[in-house]
């Protein structure tokens, strides 16, 4: 089962992310085991797997919200080490969307979107606000700009979170189960936003259980279990012709009804 194929370059040629032999432990628990993954620029990857399989941990390692103990992660040519400068550089290039949105409740929507550009990128306030309004329009909620996050629905908040990340003009976007905390009626509006983003050619890594989204958007689906990459393939092959028994079981469980 450990036939870890090297990445299938699906789009572009440059490597946006290069992960070599990544290992991570929580105490004595081995969460990530020998992960090798190359993500090309413009590539869209969906990571699926049962809970506890390490898929969230994997993408959280990419912007160093989690520290890895062995192996190498190179993002956009910058290797993640203990060097704080490198970490800040990678973080300002990589956008992240969380399961629970994590908007800043004490700031307005507009301030949420302009905070990092102003304080990290040192962009003048007016320009940052223009950019923010551009992306808020793109996620279709410009009229909410002066409200506070607590006044918005879950789906709206998640779209703001996406806009907030985009305001930093990231080269790579990470999505950590972006629709798992949403009501069914709101999942679609968030997925639509993500699909639009995909159409613009953004490099995306997305942990999700939305298999329809994976089929529509992903270049590659990665299936993880017990901290390892068990299978990866194009969505078409992955869903129609899964090879590993574990994948077949997983797919039968989530697509079975």
């Amino acid at each position: 089962m450990t036939t870890q194929t090297t990445a299938i370059p699906a789009a572009g040629h440059e490597a946006a992310i290069e992960i070599v032999n990544l290992n991570k432990w929580y105490g004595t628990f081995h969460v990530l085991r020998d992960i090798d993954l190359v993500v090309s620029r413009g590539e869209r990857i969906v990571i699926a797997g049962p809970s506890g399989s390490g898929k969230s941990t994997l993408i959280r390692c990419i912007n160093r919200l989690e520290e890895h103990q062995a192996g190498k992660i190179i993002v956009d040519g910058t290797e993640l080490t203990h060097d704080l400068k490198n970490i800040d550089k990678v973080r300002s290039e990589v956008g992240m969307v969380f399961q629970h949105f994590n908007l800043f409740p004490h700031l307005t929507i507009l301030e949420n979107c302009t905070l990092a550009p102003i304080w990290v990128r040192k962009i003048p306030k007016r320009e940052a606000e223009e950019t923010a309004m551009h992306f808020l329009t793109k996620v279709k909620i410009p009229e909410q700009a002066h409200k506070y996050p607590g006044q918005l629905s879950g789906g709206q908040q998640q779209r703001v979170a996406i806009a907030r990340s985009l305001c930093m003009r990231p080269r790579i976007m990470l999505f950590d189960e972006p629709t798992s905390a949403l009501d069914p009626e709101m999942i679609k509006e968030v997925l639509d936003t993500m699909i639009e983003l995909a159409e613009d050619g953004m490099t995306m890594l997305c942990v999700t259980h939305e298999m329809g989204f994976a089929q529509a958007v992903a270049h590659r689906v990665i299936f993880m279990d017990q901290g390892q990459i068990v299978e990866q393939n194009t969505p078409k092959e992955f869903f129609n012709n899964p090879r590993s028994e574990r994948t077949k079981l997983f797919l039968s469980q989530i697509l079975g009804h």
């Binding site: 160093r64 973080r91 969380f98 994590n102 409740p105 004490h106 607590g150």
Partner: protein
């Protein structure tokens, strides 16, 4: 309706029901009485017992208060008036004492002709605070500004401030208020300068010595600002060294040289002339202003990932919290002199302020740590993911939220600390509650007064503390972001 439901399985609602007001029995005073006071035999009994207790208190205190005497020269005269008016054996309060000696409760032994200086310092405090405390509401800010300016001026005039002082005061306050209203950013700088003005007004002496201390801070800040980008933490150390060198070597001679050119002097008042509420408010305000930033730093240090910093913070907080405040005050008044080089005369009020600040900061740190711990981890992660470094994340994301959560606890600590300033009586300072009351009772005229001083001082403490408490509730309402 329910019948139609049972008859047919398929059902489509065509009109939505509008909400209706609740039935009358669910509201009104009668319902409140019945539910809260007379809901059962036990509650009815408790209601009557409660009424009985209220009656008992009123029937004892009521006559005593209603027999109050406000005009008398001494306790004996006062008692005589009560006996004449209400009959032998009648009890009555003798508030003539307050009318006679209120100035000592307020100012201690501060020279009477200089009463306007503490009044002005207190009035300016509100000018310094208004842009910070009422930044969200221009209306509230203007009311506070106007009231404090008018009251300060009127009270200072009534207390016999010289005309030149009144004029200067009016110009200063109007200019400052204009600055607050037109250039709010600059007025914050003025707020930073306020402590030095207040110290000068309270203790007097040459303005230049305060100005030189302030210049030291400015110099240190400038050094840090210029070098911070290149040297980081080293720049901070360098700034401290430069400022310290300035204070130790240059500021003294420079201050006297400048005083020779332009003597800006007020009559000096020494610390042992301070007393009453001037003393309490001086220590309280200084302690409040200093303990909040120190508490924030301690709270962050205690949550730090760096073991040494965390250990130092834990040791400091646990030590200070484990020791009664009076112990620290004794350290301030007695022990500190042993550790300082002989001949250094370190002002007693300054020493007490330092100790009170350290004490309050330890409590403050724990209150703020509670606020920090209450923030969801996602806030830290979102700040990290956006590339904000530690200090920016703390300043822009974490602390604004954590401090907001901690407002009730922070204000409780402030109030507690302000009331604790009465403990300075144990190191020989004249606090309003014990030392001043005892001093006045020791006089020939007012021997035998007991309750009156405590009631008066207690009432003033209550007004000040209640004011702080109401402000904190106002602030909480203002900062509410959940459903507005």
């Amino acid at each position: 309706m329910s019948e139609t439901h049972s008859e047919t399985v398929a059902y489509v609602r065509e009109t939505m029901l509008p909400p209706e007001p609740p039935p009358l029995a669910e509201s009104g005073a009668i319902k409140w009485l019945r539910e809260n006071l007379f809901s059962g035999p036990l509650n009815i009994a408790l209601t009557f017992v409660g009424l009985g207790i209220v009656w008992l208190i009123l029937s004892t205190v009521g006559p005593w208060l209603s027999h109050s005497v406000w005009n008398a020269g001494s306790m004996a005269e006062c008692r005589q008036i009560i006996a004449e008016t209400w009959g032998q054996g009648a009890s009555g309060a003798c508030f003539a004492l307050i009318k006679h000696r209120w100035n000592q409760f307020m100012f201690g032994f501060y020279p009477q002709v200089l009463y306007w200086r503490p009044v002005l310092a207190f009035g300016l405090l509100f000018l310094a605070l208004a842009p910070v405390l009422f930044s969200e509401s221009a209306k509230a800010r203007r009311i506070v500004l106007g009231l404090s300016m008018v009251l300060t001026f009127v009270i200072a005039a009534l207390l016999g401030a010289p005309v030149a002082a009144l004029l200067g005061m009016a110009v200063l306050m109007l200019a400052w208020a204009a600055l607050i209203e037109t250039r709010p950013q600059w007025s914050l700088l003025a707020s930073l300068v306020y402590p030095f003005i207040a110290v000068w007004l309270l203790w007097g002496g040459s303005l230049w010595s305060e100005a030189m201390v302030l210049a030291g801070f400015g110099l240190g800040f400038a050094v840090w600002r210029v070098l911070a980008a290149r040297f980081g933490l080293l720049a901070f150390a360098l700034a401290v060294v430069v400022a310290a060198a300035w204070w130790l070597l240059l500021s003294g001679p420079l201050a006297s040289a400048l005083a020779g050119v332009l003597p800006l002097r007020l009559r000096p008042v020494s610390s042992d002339q301070f007393g009453g509420f001037v003393l309490s408010i001086t220590i309280g305000v200084a302690g409040i202003a200093l303990s909040l930033p120190l508490g924030v730093i301690l709270a962050l240090a205690r949550r730090s990932d760096l073991p040494v910093i965390k250990l130092l913070a834990v040791m400091f907080i646990e030590f200070i919290r484990g020791v009664p405040l009076i112990t620290l005050l004794f350290v301030a008044s007695l022990l500190l002199n042993y550790f300082l080089p002989p001949g250094t005369n370190f002002d007693i009020i300054l020493r007490v302020i330092i100790m009170v600040t350290l004490f309050a900061a330890a409590y403050m740190a724990e209150v703020i740590r509670g606020g920090l711990a209450a923030l969801p981890k996602g806030q830290y992660e979102a700040a990290d993911a956006l590339g904000l470094d530690y200090w920016k994340a703390q300043r822009l994301i974490i602390l604004p939220q954590a401090l907001k959560i901690s407002i009730p606890g922070i204000v409780s600590t402030f109030i507690g600390m302000f009331k604790d300033t009465t403990l300075v009586v144990f190191v020989g300072l004249f606090d309003p509650l014990k030392a001043m009351a005892d001093t006045i009772r020791a006089s020939f005229e007012w021997k035998g007064a007991y309750w009156e001083p405590y009631i008066f001082v207690g009432a003033i403490f209550f007004i000040l503390c209640f004011g702080m408490s109401r402000y904190s509730m106002y602030l909480e309402r203002r900062l509410k972001r959940d459903h507005r």
